[in-house]
């Protein structure tokens, strides 16, 4: 019994309880990737600010910017799902409530990815 606090084998102590190592690495991977991406996003926001519809469309239509926006939003959605999941796992004890909140978090992250992907595709088609 892996959940028996006394009679755990040495082997079971060495393993993460579920799949902690993979999540830990994914958190660090997304964190490191987001440092340059978020700084680029701040530069992008500065470039777009005050340029109106035409300026914003011209910026977002550029292939490099489409890729950069897509990467930033995709990794951000992944990062925020993992971050909120940690908070929910820490504070919500009831499995039903926790599962429901995790589902909502996943739905929000997926919606961000879908909205970004759809919008970028439309802009790319129009360009």
């Amino acid at each position: 019994m892996s959940h028996d606090p006394i009679n755990r084998s040495a082997q079971s102590w060495k393993k993460s309880e579920k799949h902690g190592a993979g999540e830990w690495l994914a958190e660090r991977f997304t964190s490191i990737a987001l440092i340059p991406l978020v700084l680029w996003a701040a530069y992008a926001a500065f470039t777009i600010a005050g340029t109106g519809y035409d300026g914003a469309l011209a910026f977002v239509s550029k292939p490099f910017n489409i890729l950069a926006i897509a990467a930033t939003m995709l990794i951000t959605a992944w990062h925020m799902y993992m971050g909120v999941k940690v908070i929910i796992d820490d504070y919500i004890g009831k499995p039903g409530t926790r599962g429901f909140l995790l589902f909502l978090t996943f739905a929000l992250s997926a919606a961000v990815v879908a909205a970004t992907g759809g919008a970028l595709w439309l802009v790319y088609q129009g360009a």
Binding site: V38, F46, A56, G83, D90, G118, A119, L120
Partner: protein
């Protein structure tokens, strides 16, 4: 007969973390909570940026409607708050990545690193908005 009384007693239920009721306030605990709060607040920024992109894709009228709200004084206040949350979460993440390597984990160094990363997040936010206003890209 007496063996029964000598048998190890079962352990009490193990505590869950973190135990908010018994935690004495300290700086790195505050920064840990702030990292969660700023990260959660930044989600609002992510949703707004996605909404901005959708409005851009839908055409000039929708985009103009979005920027009317986004560039209003209240809209700018919201963007300012979200950028503050974003920058403080960014530098807080940097702090955690430094801690992940095992560096600056001593109490005094950890407190100093926390103060520096908070300061850097605030300075980045103020610099960002100072440049936006100074170049006339954003006006009140």
């Amino acid at each position: 007969m007496s063996e029964k009384t000598l048998a190890p007693r079962p352990l009490p239920p193990r505590p869950m973390s973190p135990h908010l009721q018994i935690w004495r306030f300290h700086f790195t605990m505050f920064s840990s909570i702030m990292h969660r709060i700023t990260g959660s607040a930044a989600i609002g920024g992510v949703v707004l940026i996605a909404a901005w992109l959708v409005c851009l894709a839908l055409g000039r009228d929708t985009y103009t409607l979005f920027t009317q709200y986004a560039a209003s004084p209240l809209g700018l206040l919201v963007w300012f708050g979200l950028s503050l949350a974003g920058f403080v979460h960014l530098t807080g993440g940097l702090r955690h990545l430094i801690w992940d390597t095992g560096a600056s984990f001593e109490l005094k160094k950890a407190n100093a690193l926390t103060a520096w990363t908070f300061a850097l997040g605030i300075v980045l936010t103020l610099a960002f908005w100072a440049v936006l206003f100074a170049t006339g890209k954003v006006t009140l």
